[in-house]
Subunit: 405 residues, 2 copies
């Protein structure tokens, strides 16, 4: 049974994701698709639209065979760490391929670029470091250093355009796989339809997850999202809407975030992971003066920090994830199974003896600092949504779906 791994957030799952899963299966000729999926807080530093259990169900009903949780420590980290965590999990689960969506759509330019940067390693790293020291954001610094390196090459080989967000992320996956000498092969498929950051729903069946969420938050109804979602996902979102008063967003979580900022005060906030250079004082003042998330962000946003970077700090403030806690987590130590199909179960039964990390199906029978953080983050997410039941991770068993659609 050949398995292909993909790295996903599914926030929420949409037609583009379904297409990606189908294409990944086809391109790599795989029987099994394994998704490593972020939990309840995402890489852009936001609470998920719906929780990891609902998103796992969406995935299993739409072409994914196994869902592992990407631990909080990696899911909310900057791209290199995010990629490292995800790739290590797919590698530990004995995937033959990992397949990512990219603007480029061909793997050769990625491999050329990998080789180029390998040759020019020292100069490249120096260029990034210098740019960051000059106050340029990390993604911009990487981009500039890379462009510079490509321009000075005269072999005429095609290189991948690393100004494109999905190309960048894919490149990080490849670097992570190389770093651990993974046996997995890289594959990529071109992203279809809306680009990652497109916010408006287009007159087509593919829209970005950002656009889908935006449509909901602007209209307070799921109606306009229906065209862009598999039927089963639409039904799941409708059910969520019935069960909960809200979908996850900073807008709805803000009163609690504000309480935490005001209660902790700048001194304590300075201990939170990623909070740096006195921005804790700005956060505190903004929380004093603003009772909406928009007002808060308007005050704290500056050229110095990307929106994503600020939101990641806010995520860590919300969950109380400190520098100290983070320093204890270096690498994934388990495969947290969120769900599987019948085919996924067969794969697990057959392959798990070869897995490089233990599978965690039942949280109570495994003890690990990173897992504690995942459970903790799920509790804070639930409180953000106004739910009162805590430690759902202890109660839920992995979702099992007989057959994916």
């Amino acid at each position: 049974m050949k398995a292909t791994g993909i790295v996903v957030e599914y926030n929420p799952f949409h037609n583009g994701h379904k297409l990606h899963a189908t294409e990944a299966r086809k391109t790599t000729n795989a029987q099994i698709i394994i998704a490593v999926m972020s939990g309840n807080f995402l890489q852009r530093g936001e609470p998920a639209f719906v929780d990891k259990w609902a998103r796992t169900e969406m995935a299993l009903q739409n072409g994914i065979d196994i869902v592992f949780e990407l631990p909080y420590a990696f899911a909310t980290a900057h791209a290199p760490t995010f990629a490292e965590g995800a790739i290590k999990i797919l590698d530990a689960a004995c995937c033959d391929f990992y397949c990512f969506g990219s603007e480029d759509g061909h793997i050769q330019p990625f491999e050329n670029s990998m080789a180029l940067l390998d040759n020019q390693h020292t100069q490249y790293e120096r260029k990034i470091k210098e740019a960051v020291q000059h106050g340029i954001s990390y993604p911009q610094a990487v981009n500039a250093a890379y462009k510079d390196t490509v321009q000075t090459d005269n072999t005429n080989r095609p290189y991948v355009d690393l100004s494109k967000p999905n190309n960048i992320l894919g490149f990080h996956y490849m670097q992570a796989a190389k770093q651990i000498n993974s046996n997995m092969q890289a594959a990529t498929i071109q992203r279809m339809g809306a680009a990652y950051h497109d916010e408006e729903l287009k007159d087509q069946r593919i829209a970005s997850a950002t656009g889908i969420r935006k449509s909901y938050f602007e209209t307070n109804t799921l109606h306009d999202t229906q065209n862009f979602l598999p039927g089963s996902v639409y039904q799941l979102l409708k059910a969520w809407q019935g069960d909960h008063s809200a979908f996850g967003s900073w807008k709805s979580f803000y009163p609690l975030l504000r309480l935490i900022i005001l209660r902790d005060g700048p001194k304590r906030l300075a201990h939170v992971a990623d909070v740096t250079e006195g921005i804790e004082n700005l956060f505190y003042r903004a929380a004093v003066n603003h009772d909406t998330f928009d007002g808060f962000m308007h005050t704290v946003k500056s050229k110095r920090y990307t929106w994503t970077r600020i939101q990641r700090m806010l995520t860590h403030i919300f969950t109380g994830y400190s520098y100290n806690t983070r320093s204890k987590i270096n690498t994934p130590t388990y495969l947290r199974l969120l769900g599987m199909t019948q085919a996924g179960r067969l794969y697990l039964n057959k392959q798990k003896k070869n897995f490089k990390l233990p599978i965690v199906s039942k949280v109570s029978s495994f003890s690990d600092p990173s897992l504690d953080i995942d459970i903790h983050a799920a509790n804070l997410y639930a409180l953000g949504l106004g739910k009162s039941e805590m430690n759902v991770d202890y109660k839920n068993i992995p979702i099992f779906i007989r057959e994916s659609q």
Copy 2:
């Protein structure tokens, strides 16, 4: 102008308080009554029923000439520290007398007891220490040591009964005054009507503040409290009810307290003042399992800790008041003026040059760690009530009322 100081919480102000003010004025033949009043969190470890501004207005309309705020660090401390803070403030404000309500009602037995314990100091302190080490609560230990000391005396002088809560508190005031060699004279008046902890509204015009709050929380209406409140207080409470969705209580603050406990986790909670001996783990588990304050308290309450002691820990958790913060505050350093009458203003103008501490009328023009905590606590209290305006302390000026009723 002779001034008499009283120590109050006014939670809320009622007929008994009015009577106390009148009696204090009469007994000590004072022109001015100065109240040192707790802010938004009280000595029993609870959020105040209404905020310090509303309670100041009640006081000024009913016989009090000047209201100073007892800083959070003292207002929420155990009895000896509470008393020390309050007495130092009244002493700094040049009061001639301090007058407290007591079950005894005569000052001579208090003075006899002071002299007795002075003579027997070493044995008495040893008895308390031993009892506390045997796991007996501090108030009980003091009580037992005192009884023992009185029984072994054979001078036939009357001693005060220190098993009574108001006698105890009065005794602490006297000890504090002695400790600073205050020139103030002690006076006491007998508490009328309902005892301090009586919870049921009696068929009379005097009821305890506890009973008044209980009546409101059980019926969700102020109707049954009307008989026990001066008319102006009843009107202020009605207005508060119109302006706010809630009166202050742990029941209504609990969702936010729970968020803080769950977000901080046991390790961080252990840094909070008064949290000791691993009770942080019990708090955390109770918060996981309970979404109501009653359920939470049912789980954490044990013989080891009094209800008050637990609530004080919860107050400090809610405000984030750590051992470290507390260690920086040893003594009152200012007189925070919350309000005054015309007569009170005359007194201040005449006497302030003799005051031992600076008067703070405008928070922004004074910088002090203890004052920062008072402002911080007021913010957290406002958030507990669901209010969004922060730093009201910076905006409010002392309340001025031309004539008290």
